[in-house]
Amino acid sequence: MAEGICFHIRNLNRMKNDIQTNVISLKEKMLHLHSQHLTGLNEAPFMKKIRENALESFQKNGFPHNKMEDWRSTNLSKTLAMDFKQHFEPGSEPVNIDSIFSCDVHHLDTYLITLLNGWYSNAEKPLNILPDGTIIGSFAKASVVYPEIFEKYYAKTAEDPKNGMNALNTAFAQDGVFIYVPDNVKVDKTIQIVSIINLDENILIQPRNLVVVGKNAQLQLVHCDHSVQHRASFINSVTEIFIEENAEVEYYKLQNKDNETTLITTTYFEQAAHSRLTSNVITLNGGLIRNNMRVSLNGAGADAKLLGLYLMDREQHVDNNLFIDHRSADCTSTQLYKGILDDQAEGVFNGHILVRPDAQRTQAYQNSKNILLTDKANIHTQPQLEIYADDVKCSHGATVGQLDPEAMFYMRSRGIREDTARMLMMYAFAAEVINQVKILPLRHQIDEMIYKRLKGELSTCDQCILDCNAKRDIHFEIDLKKI
């Protein structure tokens, strides 16, 4: 069952002048689709209530637009003007995931979960319970089987009035990934979520993921996005991750999408006392990417490290929007985001640190470093510190520059050719982030991908049958002279 959201721009000039009008129209189409497909869903009353509230919020706030402070530098109007399809049921044909996807990270032994077009792909076994009690499975199925967990955690972080995309996701949420790690369990292998889009049509998907990591538990989670068909897609995904007392989470997000994709991800981390989070967002390609990271440090002594690396070229756009909410005393947060932008690529970094009155002895650090390889590439970087406690240590820094000419000359004076020297420098710049990837096979793979990316080769995995075999113009080269 598929339904088109058709929206045609008859007057492009009008669109430029009046984005609002169009957005409202698409909004109405979404509301219409919702009433057709989702209001009558047979689901638990509390789930229904959450959906209704979200719909109301979306109705009130609509899509984000450039007049909103938080969206000033990222323009969705082009995407919102396109024609996407949405599916309200999973595909009926059985799909052999192995035939369309094989992960190429060597020696990376994981519990692999695949989402196909936004739906949990293993219909025969929607929930997998490991011997240690860890539950890995379909969001849709879990919401029925574990209502008590959902009632406690699901959409508890969604009170984010500025984020219309989040409300939209919650209003439309049907499936995605559910992970539950019981107290005191260290999951023995990395869990890897791969979201695949394989449809020969323009599609809008809104996966919803819920992850709960119990007290003293440990989880490594890798979240990858892949496209098989090169059609335009619009992904609006929301992931909520609850990290209970003294638990530890490493979260890796790998984004290597084609230029037709608009990817909006929102990840909420709710951290209890003494919990530890390391998140690492690596963006190698993509049309328009917006990553919202929302970290709430709710208990004393919680620690969050947020790292990011983006390598963009041509007209790609990446926007990393972070909000760190220090709600409790003695918490620490560190942000380090680095980017290399080539051609006309555009980067946005917004890091907002809020230190509430009770959050004494907070330590919050933020650093955004960028290299622009051309005059036309640009970066908007904006720190925002909002501090209501008096005993805090906060700092922020932003650098935008070219490659250090002194270092270039030093290397060349040793016989290293200019392009090799540039490669080494850019690679070194990226290494500060890559070296913090603690899963070694993954680090090596990312290393390899970045090396290829910087050399201008496709950085998707070598042997996998995804992008590499696609017969299309590959215009990924970076001019080596500019690297």
């Binding site: 000359f409 290397m411 040793r414 016989g415 290293i416 200019e418 080494l424 690679y427 070194a428």
Partner: protein, 253 residues
């Protein structure tokens, strides 16, 4: 090996070198001395190919080739090495990776196969001992967190790895204590052969107690105003540079 004739060099339209002449033959060690700001480091940078300087007149021939036709990396591959006065820190690039890239790019230029990992590491070990460089340092990023003395020893180490024909050492002695100076000088002396040449730029005569030069030149206001053997260095040490200013003045500079 190196023949510099009537070299004029400017930066931001300010002339630094004004008609410099220098001849260096294989097997020779030349010392260039002179007060601050007379163009010693400029000379070193121009030979290595730093593009912020403009050569407005004259020529530099190296093994018969016009250096102006070669990029800095090509000059290095042809056998020119510059020991920096202020070695640059390159965070994130490991010493090992840096040297391996340099050695192999130079080999590629010469049409040789790259050194295998084991051969390369063996060579590193051997050369490290020459300047008493610890493994701790070679595992770090290039020059990052190195002390002043370690940076200078690292320059000599790189020189030993790359085996240049012509090495220009720009104030390699500055900031070194006497022990480090001895290590650096020993390194240079062990690398001296009949086929290579050194141009040692220094402010003080004390380095020349350890590296015995064949020739000493005094650079003043962009020209070599006096040349002699090693006794000139002692004369300078004794008299300072003031008397040269007078002689330069009388010779019409």
């Amino acid at each position: 090996m190196l023949s510099i004739k009537n070299l004029h060099v400017s930066i931001h339209n300010k002339e630094i070198l004004r008609g410099l002449n220098l001849e260096v033959k294989a097997g020779e060690v030349h010392a260039i001395m002179g007060p601050n700001g007379t163009g010693k480091s400029t000379l070193a940078s121009v030979i290595a190919g730093r593009d912020i300087f403009e050569v407005t007149a004259g020529e530099i021939l190296y093994k018969g080739k016009d250096l102006m036709d070669l990029s800095p990396d090509e000059r290095a591959c042809e056998g020119i090495f510059l020991g920096f006065q202020y070695p640059v820190e390159i965070p994130g690039v490991s010493m090992t990776n840096f040297m391996r890239t340099a050695v192999n790019e130079q080999r590629k230029y010469k049409g040789l196969d790259p050194l295998s990992g084991t051969a390369f590491l063996a060579r590193m070990e051997e050369k490290k001992q020459l300047v008493e460089l610890t493994s701790k340092l070679t595992n770090r990023s290039v020059n990052e967190g190195f002390s002043g003395g370690e940076k200078k020893r690292n320059e000599i180490f790189q020189m030993a790895m790359l085996e240049p024909s012509l090495a220009i050492l720009d104030e390699t002695d500055s900031g070194l204590d006497i022990d480090a100076l001895r290590v650096v000088a020993n390194g240079v002396n062990k690398l001296r052969t009949a086929d290579n040449a050194f141009v040692v730029i220094t402010h003080y005569q004390r380095l020349l107690d350890h590296i015995i030069p064949d020739f000493v030149h005094v650079l003043f206001e962009g020209r070599i105003v006096k040349s002699g053997d090693k006794s000139l260095a002692y004369e300078l040490e004794e008299k300072g540079y003031e008397w040269l200013k007078e002689s330069a003045f009388t010779s019409g500079i």
